[in-house]
């Protein structure tokens, strides 16, 4: 329950705790994050609604028609955020609150800020607040604005750094029963969506197709020509036990009437199409495919079929030893190029592979998996199989060429949490989802909300589920936790030298920690959906397109840092400042930004180790406040950044002849100059 969610948002437990791998079943005392208690304000007589959750930051953002939690109906709410931040040394900090609504901040039990928040009018402590060495308790109480919307963001500043949000990895919170219950509900919500429960259990009176972010639209692959894609033996084996091939399969194991049923269904499905001619793969293709498999980050989600499984978190990667037994070769190539063609909700993301890459990867996979133990030969009665498909509920999730059968499962509202799929020890006739006890408990905790929660728009919750479902953290670090790919690289490099293009750290795959605070929401959405080119064209890895859920994921990532849906309002243009900015970019008399950064069509002068992002693109994608924070001290956001720090602790640079050496003014001048060169300057 909680462990699962901490893995989702927080990844690494507080240093005082045993590591997850060491103590999987140990009770948790503290976890990383912020405890957020949510209460729905009701008029007299209204039923109380409350929820508690774990969150990475002191930030809340809710737009109109959204809710801060799927377990609260939309409307006025109060959020109480608490966490401890540990200081290595007694120190002083200033605090600042921004947003819309009303907020009150206490530090170690003393109220330090209290008041109404309006855009552009932050609350700020008049004097620095003393913090103790060790843990310091922060509590932020936030009341939403008039229609149940609002935003709040907490930042702090010290002698050595300017205002910035408190890094997620430095916040911890004790675990209590309410938090555990809230996280369990969320776990259940994620399972409910992933296992597509509402496909079989009619959610009337809600409509399946109207769930928030269309999350319940998810269905299985189109089976109408599956015989052209996969092999009959594999179909039979999959039907017998999907979890033999992937532990987190959405497809349940059906309890057929007799052992040959799976063979019959496989026989009918296999007859639905004939495989296209297999391409002739070459040794060169297979070798290239092996490299591409690593360079594209396939290793982050998949085991290499010709390598041994790896321990720890890497053990959860999907094995591919069955690939040759499953796929018709030509269909595998087509699938790699367009994974969503026959399965719009396939979890495999669309890497927009060239045919050359797809052929190489297919060649590599089919050869590497060729030595796997063959599956039993399956022979069955296709006519009987068709009948089974009609009777077994396959059509609830799959498109098939056969008349609809009658619904078999009870409606959602009538579910008994102790029976059916959720029955302890399984039910004789219900599909077997292979649920662990903790998962069954989570689903039971969620069930009372199942008729409402999926239809409430809570982008932050949706994104949290999707970050896991889409495996974003396989390639990206988050809140201080390295990506799976990075862990793979560390483990692999210990045994064999790894070329930089196979190492996500060497390549500089960006972290997701600040992405919602960093990027303009419109740019972020366009990029996640695959509609914008990568700002890092030098990467051999590539960001797949997540068109289906990209908008929801992007809005959730933005809410995570307390920002609303809209792009940041543009900073008014200042032509005079822009003139200074041009000089400041230049080599020699300026900071020499052009040394590592291209500007428009003008390439970087001298890239060393790692290029910088083209600056006109940067200007369009970045939030102004993040840009300022980054320039002030890049190493506070990325300790290994190659970007120099130009401002000293007093906010001065050594280019004293420009704007009197005032770092903030100089950075603004560069922003203005870049803005004057972009067509959509903000």
């Amino acid at each position: 329950m909680l462990r699962r969610v901490t893995a989702m948002w927080c990844g690494v437990l507080a240093a005082s705790l045993p590591l997850p791998a060491q103590a999987a079943d140990a009770p948790l005392e503290r976890v990383r994050g912020v405890r957020v208690a949510l209460e729905r304000h009701r008029g007299a007589g209204g039923a109380a609604e409350a929820d508690v959750r774990l969150w990475p930051a002191f930030a809340v953002a809710v737009e109109r028609d959204e809710t801060p939690s799927p377990f609260l109906s939309p409307g006025l709410f109060r959020a109480t955020l608490t966490a401890e931040v540990e200081l290595a040394l007694r120190d002083r900090r200033r605090f600042r609150l921004e947003g819309r609504g009303r907020a009150e901040l206490s530090v170690n039990g003393h109220k330090v800020l209290d008041g109404a928040l309006r855009p552009g009018r932050p609350l700020e402590t008049a004097a620095a607040v003393r913090l103790d060495k060790g843990p310091n308790r922060l509590q932020l109480v936030f009341d939403s604005a008039a229609v149940g919307d609002g935003e709040v963001r907490l930042s702090w500043a010290g002698d050595e750094f300017g205002f910035e949000p408190i890094a997620p990895e430095s916040l911890t919170v004790p675990v209590d029963a309410a938090l555990q219950a809230g996280e369990s509900r969320r776990h259940g919500h994620a399972l409910f969506a992933a296992r597509q429960c509402a496909r079989c259990h009619d959610p009337e009176p809600q409509r399946l197709g109207e769930s928030a972010f269309a999350e319940l639209d998810a269905a299985g692959p189109d089976l109408r020509a599956i015989g052209a894609r996969v092999r009959q033996d594999w179909l039979a084996a999959w039907l017998r036990d999907p979890r033999r091939f992937r532990a987190d399969a959405s497809m349940p194991r059906f309890r057929f009437e007799r052992d040959g049923d799976a063979d019959d269904v496989a026989a009918w499905l296999a007859g639905s199409g004939s495989p296209p001619t297999a391409p002739e793969f070459t040794d060169d293709q297979a070798a290239a495919g092996g490299s591409r498999f690593r360079e594209l980050g396939c290793v982050a989600c998949h085991e290499e079929p010709d390598r041994q499984s790896m321990p720890g978190a890497l053990a959860a990667r999907l094995p591919l030893g069955f690939v040759a037994a499953k796929w018709q070769p030509a269909a595998l190539v087509a699938y790699l190029q367009a994974p969503q063609r026959d399965h719009p909700h396939a979890r495999m993301p669309d890497f927009r592979l060239s045919r050359e890459d797809a052929l190489a990867l297919a060649a590599h996979l089919l050869r590497a998996a060729s030595s796997a133990e063959p599956l039993p030969v399956s022979r069955g009665d296709a006519r009987r199989g068709r009948s089974l498909v009609q009777r077994s509920g396959c059509i609830d999730c799959h498109a098939v060429d056969t008349p609809l059968g009658a619904p078999r499962a009870p409606q959602l509202a009538n579910l008994d949490p102790a029976r059916g799929c959720l029955a302890e020890g399984g039910h004789a006739r219900a599909p077997d989802h292979g649920l662990e006890p903790v998962e069954r408990a989570a689903l039971r905790a969620f069930l009372p909300f199942a008729g409402a929660a999926p239809w409430r728009r809570s982008p932050s919750d949706f994104a949290a589920r999707q970050l896991e479902a889409q495996r974003c953290t396989a390639c990206h670090a988050l809140d201080g936790t390295p990506s799976l790919w990075a862990r793979w690289a560390t483990a692999t490099a210990a045994a064999e030298p790894l070329p930089p293009q196979q190492d996500p750290v060497a390549q500089g795959i960006p972290s997701l920690t600040w992405v919602g605070a960093k990027l303009q929401p419109s740019w972020l959405e366009g990029f996640v959906r695959g509609r914008l080119p990568s700002p890092r064209p030098w990467l051999t890895a590539r960001m797949p397109a997540f068109d289906l859920h990209g908008a929801g994921i992007a809005s959730g990532l933005v809410r995570r840092h307390g920002h609303g849906a809209g792009d940041e309002p543009p900073v008014p243009a200042d032509a005079q400042l822009a003139l200074h900015g041009e000089r400041l970019l230049a080599m020699g008399r300026g900071f020499g930004c052009v040394q590592c950064h291209a500007v428009g069509e003008q390439p970087a002068v001298q890239v060393f180790e790692r290029a910088g992002i083209e600056l006109l693109t940067a200007r369009q994608r970045l939030r102004h406040e993040y840009y300022t924070r980054w320039l002030r001290d890049p190493t506070r956001l990325d300790a290994e950044s190659r970007m120099p720090r130009y401002a000293d602790a007093k906010g001065r640079t050594s280019l004293t002849e420009v704007l009197r050496g005032d770092a903030a003014a100089q950075f603004e001048a560069i922003w203005q100059h870049l803005g004057s060169r972009t067509t959509q300057g903000r």
Binding site: A15, L89, E169, R589
Partner: protein, 781 residues
């Protein structure tokens, strides 16, 4: 004479790359010569140490100071200036920008005992001394350049002049020689020549070959092949009888019989593209007087000094940083990327710049009100090291150590004397020639970068001096390797006792920046490809300390405090950071024979990087210089600062002692008892690094080595400070710390008050290789 078959591939292709002469690196006026690795192309290939002599707009000569050959000469242009020091590109070097006239293949320019076979084990470095030796170059009256070298027992002086008919005139003064000598004048294309001939016995020679024409295309198309164009190089010999031209094995040679008295000859070279033998022979053989070489030093060419005004820094802290304003705006467009410096006895300083200048600045007095800058020398090879010995400027460039003399006393160097050029250099962009220091005996020390590949990871071809610290005997005769396994040791320090220090930069095989303490020769820094020993040690020798990125991400040199103005830090070591533009005080201890310690940042801000530091004899203050050439936080291309110790309290710890029970920090001034004895005033965290062939290292948890965190995020374990005691003089704090152990990195932070009430907040990053037994606390308060 017959035409040749079109069989010879000729690489003399017009370059057609006309550089923008008034932009970028071409805007700078480099003077009559420039020393560089030069991609001459064709037969001459790349010349690692090339003396590029510019003949106005007429032509350019590249003289190979290692092989004593004229590598190439071309007309109608000079150089295409590419490379890290010029256009910033990583990989290419300056290359020919003109029409080829004459080339010689890589190999000795003069024969030894009749042989031209290259005697060197690898194709880098100078010829053996008994074969020949480059002595230097003189700038002589009339924009002339005279090259001095020795061949066998024969002294040679040579100059290059150009005539308007695209003719190159080489004038050679050959000292007496007891043996016959032979010099390569020109090589033809790669394969055997079609024809070579000598006419006017011994006085005129030519090489002739065909350029590849469109014949093969014509053959395929069934069309009559067009005749391939013919190329010719002509050479005429003038001067005293005895020497003769000869042609052998596809090359023109100058044969010089043994001679008891000096001889003077002149070679006139020209190129033809048709059958111009008769006309060229007539022109080139036309009688000419071979005059003695002018060796009168050139008159000053860079004009009156440029005056700038320095800026005194604020005196409100323990250190005031004064700016010695550089002449950024100078009429020569010389880029003031200041790389190294030293002081003359009279308090003036000589400053080298990355693009080959040495400037002399006068006026380094208290108020810096009038700084006079004189361009003293130009054309040096990326001189990132400079030392003044006996008031003679010695510069360390990629070509070795050069002494600069002002023979006529006009304020500009007119003689670049080669002090030692044994150092090996390849065409790697990253093979920087760092620093130049001397020990108490006058021996020289400098360091060499490893040839990092463009992009920063891995290395290109390694030669023996890559990634080393080298020691050169005070008389310049013997070069030896002191330390190996280094990556980018941008600066060294030499103590009075002869201890060598250097920094090194995170990269391949280098987990983090490290400060090395090299007490004895043989130190190994960890970069396997530059280990230069077999077997390669499995582990590097231990550094004095490691430094995290935020402290130092690209190290500079070190300097020992010797200035009287810094009396409270006299004898202490300072470490400079190029990347973070900082100066650090090094706190050291010795435990079980191992030197270890850490660094504390001095409160001083600089406009450019901190690469080299020296204490000035005339005022006892620290001077720091640096440039912006690769990744750094430096805001300016160059910066020269004086760091004045004021009368304000230092506010820093000045001594460190670690033990199994904790850490003792001795502060410069007494502390407030209440805050100093509060354990909550201190924070301690530890972490490790991982030594591997990877680029850098993540932080590795000491207490939970299996814990992985996002790269770039701290992975540190706090240690609990259980007690803090203060010594009787209230300067030494003894911190009792649970879990003391050897660690790559310990960070100690403090927030205490001084006895006078001022807040003292700071941090120390240090390394513990070995722990002393639990120590007794100082007298308790």
């Amino acid at each position: 004479m017959r035409s040749l078959p079109a069989a010879v591939v000729l690489s003399f292709v017009p370059v057609g790359l006309v550089a923008q002469q008034d932009e970028g690196p071409h805007a700078m006026r480099y003077g009559p010569l420039l020393t560089s690795t030069v991609e001459c192309g064709g037969r001459s290939g790349t010349t690692p140490k090339g003396l590029v002599v510019r003949g106005g707009d007429l032509g350019t000569v590249v003289f190979d100071t290692e092989l004593l050959r004229l590598s190439a000469a071309w007309t109608d242009g000079w150089l295409r200036l590419r490379g890290t020091a010029y256009d910033g590109s990583h990989g290419p070097m300056p290359s020919r920008d003109g029409m080829p006239l004459v080339e010689t293949a890589p190999g000795p320019g003069w024969a030894h005992a009749g042989s031209f076979v290259d005697p060197r084990p690898i194709p880098y470095g100078p010829l053996p001394r008994d074969w020949g030796r480059f002595r230097g170059v003189r700038l002589v009256a009339g924009d002339g350049v005279v090259v001095d070298y020795e061949v066998d027992d024969m002294a040679v002086r040579e100059s290059f002049t150009w005539e308007h008919e695209r003719r190159l005139v080489r004038t050679l003064e050959l000292g007496p020689s007891a043996r016959p000598q032979s010099m390569v004048v020109a090589d033809g294309p790669w394969t055997t020549l079609g024809e070579a001939a000598v006419r006017a016995p011994g006085r005129f020679a030519m090489l002739q070959w065909s350029l590849p024409g469109p014949s093969s295309e014509g053959d395929r198309a069934g069309i009559e092949p067009t005749p391939a164009p013919v190329q010719q190089v002509f050479c005429a010999l003038h001067g005293e009888a005895g020497p003769e031209l000869a042609v052998a094995a596809g090359r023109i040679l100058l044969q010089v019989p043994a001679h008891a008295r000096a001889q003077r000859v002149q070679l006139v070279l020209a190129r033809g593209d048709q059958d111009q033998v008769a006309a060229q022979a007539q022109a080139l053989l036309a009688a000419r007087e071979v005059r003695p070489l002018a060796i009168e030093p050139a008159a000053a060419r860079w004009g009156a000094p440029i005056v700038t005004q320095g800026v005194r820094g604020d005196d409100d802290g323990p250190f005031a940083v004064d700016t010695i304003t550089l002449p950024f705006d100078n009429p020569f467009h010389s880029r003031m990327r200041t790389a190294a410096f030293d002081f003359f006895a009279d308090g003036r300083a000589a400053v080298s710049t990355w693009n080959g200048d040495v400037w002399i600045v006068a006026g380094l007095d208290d108020d810096l009100g009038r700084l006079e800058w004189r361009r003293f020398a130009t054309g040096l090879f990326d001189p990132l090291g400079l030392r003044i010995v006996d008031d003679v400027v010695h510069v360390h460039g990629r070509d070795g150590i050069t002494r600069l003399h002002d023979r006529n006393g006009d304020g500009e160097a007119d003689h670049h004397e080669c002090f030692n050029n044994d150092v090996l250099v390849t065409d790697s962009f990253h093979e920087f020639a760092f620093d130049l220091q001397t020990d108490g005996d006058g021996n020289f020390y400098f360091s060499k970068g490893a040839p990092v590949k463009p992009g920063g990871r891995g290395f290109t071809r390694i030669v023996p001096h890559h990634g080393t610290i080298l020691k050169l005997a005070r008389d310049g005769t013997r070069l030896e390797t002191i330390a190996t396994g280094l990556r980018a040791p941008n600066g060294i320090g030499v103590s009075a006792a002869g201890v060598i220090t250097c920094g090194d930069n995170e990269g391949t095989y280098m987990p983090r920046c490290r400060l090395n303490w090299i007490a004895a020769p043989g130190f190994y820094g960890g970069v396997a490809p530059t280990a230069h020993r077999t077997p390669v040690p499995a582990q590097p020798d231990l550094p004095l300390c490691w430094m995290p990125m935020e402290v130092d991400n690209s190290s500079g040199g070190q300097v020992w405090v010797t200035g009287r103005a810094w009396a409270d830090l006299d004898g202490r070591l300072l470490h400079l950071s190029y990347g973070t533009c900082s100066v650090y005080l090094v706190l050291m201890e010795q435990v079980a024979g191992q030197v270890q310690g850490g660094v504390v940042r001095l409160p001083a801000e600089f406009s450019s990087s901190c690469m080299r530091g020296r204490f000035a004899p005339h005022d006892g203050q620290l001077y720091v210089i640096g440039l912006q050439g690769w990744q750094t936080s430096a805001a300016r291309e160059g910066g020269f600062h004086r760091v004045r110790r004021t009368s304000a309290p230092l506010g820093l710890p000045t001594a460190l002692r670690t033990s199994a029970s904790g850490v003792q920090l001795t502060f410069a001034e007494p502390l407030d008892v209440a805050t100093a004895t509060d354990p909550d005033s201190y924070g301690v965290e530890i972490w490790n690094y991982r030594y591997s062939s990877d680029y850098g290292s993540p932080e590795v948890s000491v207490l939970h080595p299996e814990r992985e965190v996002e790269r770039g995020k701290p992975n540190r374990d706090p240690l609990v400070v259980t007690g803090a005691q203060l010594s009787a003089d209230r300067r030494t704090v003894s911190l009792r710390i649970d879990g003391m152990r050897p660690v790559h990195q310990m960070r100690i932070t403090w927030n205490v008050d001084a006895a006078d009430g001022r807040q003292q907040k700071g941090e120390l990053h240090h390394t513990i290789h070995a722990l002393a037994p639990a120590s007794d606390a100082p007298t308790e308060r």
